[in-house]
């Protein structure tokens, strides 16, 4: 051992970090929370970080079931299908010691439904929230809403008194240049309290002594140090070098390296997110028609594309086995998903070429594939591979890979004929997919439908299932709608993403399909 004094000090520092890690979780992922105001941003990492410190009435356990959190029981009111009744947990205190009761729920729900709230879209069906006792609330919806509890999983509860005292009643309105106390301070009921936070650098949380679920959850860690690390190589390097205990987004190519490193392991699971291509099915191509027509408007062309994409090869090579090839743009957890729907065609270039010829394009046609390069796992590489596969049947695809900041506005403005998109379903119900992706685009529906796909019959069904309380009947409708959607091929499915969480040995974690890590579930052995 001929290490210099300096280096041994460096090692000393690192191992000092190791000595305290029995209680401290050093955790990193690519992004950071945008704000601590629970109703200001509807964004995954933001909600995840907040959910260490704040809680909703109902949450989704890592296993996927709804779990009683601040509400202990819930049911549709016997005499009114438009009303849900929630019984609240008693004896819950906020971090500052205030008691949690129905007043806080009414306040928080109203705040989440207010003008500047980004959560209002999730609970748009809520008409009124009223307290019917100190530990009971009723939520009135516009028409029956069978899946309301699932929608509440990301609506965090705030303390009315604390929020009012700190002038944070209105949700932070970034557009208006507002800054609120609640965007940098937290007073929740969650298992961890905020110790310090430097956005994009470091957030430190400590276990909350007065947490109601102290005996219910493992709560292995007394402290969490959360550090966003954007660069994937750096993130993996930090884990490999022992500077971190847990990272959430391991690049697929690094999984084997992590697994092969002593003291580290990787837990994988399917993610609640499907990745697919959208096609412009209208009569006109954005880039200008080919021979006066839009080839993509012909379902045979779409079938040819569907047939030529080798999903297994993408899984094996690009995704290194870390994906589930998809025949439908619906993740496997979602209500409505079946094996049959997920069946996908075996790649067949000859049949694809025949279909193209039949449609009048024996020599293919040029098309631009628009892709994000910083949004989904290996998004650019998937698109690149697709360009290659399309080339084999004569479709001359050009790749336009851009950052998500350029990509999404382009897709939203429908300035694309052929684009990649990923879609997660927080409600775990097909309605969510149909609403945003298949309904004809208008002011409030089909807002992510950039394919110009429009089917009046389907539109009517979409509105119908939203209010259908007869679940078997509703499921039948959904199955029928998927049949239509799958045949029309406005979207060409690629795969369902997998989640890979890497952590040190001894940590027992169930990977959450929504990529929402909640430290309270983490167990150490």
């Amino acid at each position: 051992m001929k290490r210099s004094l300096f280096l041994s000090t460096a090692i000393a520092v690192l191992s000092w970090g190791a000595a305290t890690q029995a209680e401290t979780l050093r955790w990193a992922l690519a992004g950071d929370a945008l704000t601590l105001d629970p109703h200001a941003q509807n964004e995954g990492v933001t909600i995840m970080l907040q959910s260490q410190m704040m809680e909703p009435l109902v949450s989704r356990a890592p296993t996927g079931e709804l779990e009683a959190t601040l509400a202990t029981e819930w049911a549709v009111k016997a005499d009114d299908p438009n009303v849900w009744v929630f019984k609240l947990r008693e004896g819950v205190t906020f971090h500052d010691g205030a008691t949690f009761d129905s007043e806080d729920v009414v306040f928080s729900m109203d705040r989440a439904r207010s003008e500047a709230s980004q959560m209002k879209g999730i609970i748009a069906s809520v008409a009124e929230v009223r307290a019917t006792g100190p530990y009971e609330v009723e939520i009135v919806t516009n028409g029956p809403n069978p899946i309301l509890p699932a929608a509440l999983t990301s609506i965090m509860m705030l303390d009315k008194g604390w929020t009012e005292a700190n002038n944070a009643v209105t949700v932070q309105n970034v557009a208006a240049g507002e800054v609120t106390f609640s965007s940098t301070n937290v007073n929740g009921t969650g298992p961890y309290t905020l110790v310090s936070r430097e956005a994009d650098a470091r957030t430190v949380m400590r276990a909350f002594d007065g947490y109601w679920g102290k005996d219910t959850f493992p709560l292995a860690y007394s402290e969490i140090i959360f550090t966003p690390i954007q660069n994937a190589s750096t993130r993996v390097a930090a884990l490999l070098s022992g500077e971190l205990d847990f990272i959430q987004d391991v690049p697929v190519q690094d999984i084997d390296r992590v697994k092969g490193t002593a003291g580290l392991k990787v837990e994988s699971s399917s993610e609640n997110r499907s990745v697919f291509f959208g096609l412009n099915v209208s009569d006109t191509l954005v880039a200008g028609n080919i021979d006066g027509k839009n080839p993509l408007a012909d379902v045979r062309v779409r079938q040819a594309i569907n047939m030529t994409i080798n999903r297994d090869a993408i899984r094996d090579v690009v995704m290194r086995g870390q994906s589930v090839p998809a025949g439908i743009i619906m993740p496997p957890f979602v209500n409505g998903w079946t094996e049959e729907l997920n069946a996908y065609p075996a790649p067949d270039n000859e049949a694809a070429k025949a279909l193209l010829a039949e449609a009048g394009y024996p020599n293919g046609f040029p098309i631009t594939l628009d892709c994000p390069n910083d949004r989904y796992i290996n998004d650019e590489a998937i698109c690149q591979a697709t360009v290659g596969m399309l080339g084999q049947i004569g479709i001359q695809a050009r790749l336009n890979a851009t950052s998500k900041a350029l990509f999404f506005p382009q897709v939203n403005a429908m300035e694309t004929d052929f684009y990649m998109l990923g879609w997660g379903v927080p409600s775990y119900d097909s309605e969510y997919i149909f609403n945003f992706l298949y309904h004809t685009r208008d002011e409030s529906y089909g807002s992510w439908n950039s394919t110009r796909y429009s089917n009046a019959e389907l539109d009517a069904q979409i509105k119908a299932i939203a209010a259908e309380v007869d679940l078997p009947k509703r499921d039948a409708m959904i199955a029928q709608m998927w049949e239509t959607a799958k045949n029309d091929l406005a979207y060409i499915p690629i795969h369902h993403q997998m989640l890979n969480w890497a952590m040190k040995d001894g940590l027992t974690v169930t990977v959450d399909p929504d990529n929402q890590a909640r430290v309270k579930y983490f167990a150490l052995n």
Binding site: A237, P251, Q253, A287, V317, T368, V387, R398, L399
Partner: protein, 305 residues
């Protein structure tokens, strides 16, 4: 051609060249790489730009090892898309050199022109141009290039972006590199402007600019050559850095920088060949061009014998 080569070989400059192992080695490496780039379509076993010929299943083939699925063997392995690394390097060299050389030419034309104007017209025009040069120098090339790239991405329609990306890169890098050329030419022009022949030409009513250009350019040829060589190395590196920031050459038409950006994601996973070979090529190219530039500066500077 042969005669001018022979003239070069036997000149004083040629003698210095023959007696400098560094110069010979770097010239050889540069020639080899440039030659390989030019002849890429002839020597590359695969055409990585032809998507129809790709087989994704060849992805991550190790060098000189048959692929588990397809049995194909690649000299330097295959990348994540199943492209032959050797071929992508050849084609990547082509893109890198094309971008580098074009950017330097662009910078040179711009710099020489502005330098001539500044030196000849003088006064406010000179002040303005040199002020712009100062600002340009303070603004790091990377920021300038990002700025131009950002604007270009917005202006150019998506379906043309992949074709235009290379040209945008050239302009972005070139635009951040014109100042040294302008400074040298401006200085020479200011000296030359007051020479008798220029004054005489002016007296007899001839436009002296053309004559001056003819007289000035030979004088500044040496420093321009040196600046150009060093700028070339800088431009190649700048292109690589821009690629890392995601504003470089598109992955379907990769430069060495793009290849390195892609390759660096496989540093931990054991597919070292995807990073190592392009990086070594870039290093060799930049090193050769840089030391050639170094040597040229010493050799062409008569005072530094």
């Amino acid at each position: 051609m042969i005669r001018s080569f022979s003239a070069f070989w036997h000149s004083d400059f040629g003698w210095k060249f023959r007696h400098s192992p560094t110069a010979i080695l770097s010239a050889l490496v540069t020639l080899l790489l440039v030659g390989a780039a030019i002849a890429a379509p002839l020597i590359a076993p695969f055409d990585p730009f032809n998507s129809a010929s790709l087989n994704l299943m060849n992805g991550f083939s190790a060098p000189m090892t048959p692929n588990a699925f397809t049995g194909q063997v690649f000299l330097l392995g295959a990348d994540d898309q199943g492209r032959d690394v050797f071929s992508t390097i050849l084609y990547g060299l082509r893109v890198s050199l094309f971008v580098g050389v074009s950017a330097v030419l662009f910078a040179m034309v711009l710099g020489v022109t502005l330098g001539l104007i500044a030196g000849y017209v003088g006064g406010r025009v000179d002040g303005f141009i040199m002020r712009v040069a100062d600002i340009q120098l303070t603004f790091p090339a990377i920021l300038v290039a990002m700025l131009i790239f950002g604007i270009a991405k917005g202006i150019i329609a998506p379906q043309y972006r992949d074709q235009m990306a290379i040209w945008v890169l050239i302009i972005a890098i070139g635009l951040s590199d014109w100042v040294p050329f302008a400074r040298v030419v401006r200085g020479a022009t200011m000296v030359e402007k007051n020479r008798d022949y220029v004054q005489a030409a002016r007296l007899i009513g001839r436009k002296p600019v053309a004559i001056m250009v003819l007289h000035i350019l030979p004088n500044v040829l040496n420093p321009i050559l040196v600046i150009a060589t060093i700028s070339l190395a800088l431009a190649i590196i700048a292109e690589a850095t821009l690629s890392f920031l995601g504003v470089g050459a598109p992955p379907t038409q990769p430069s060495l920088g793009t290849l390195i950006r892609i390759g660096q994601t496989f540093l931990f996973s054991g597919e070292w060949w995807i990073l190592l070979f392009p990086a070594a090529t870039l290093l060799a190219l930049a090193l050769a061009v840089n030391s050639l530039g170094d040597w040229l500066r010493d050799a062409l500077n008569p005072r530094l014998k």
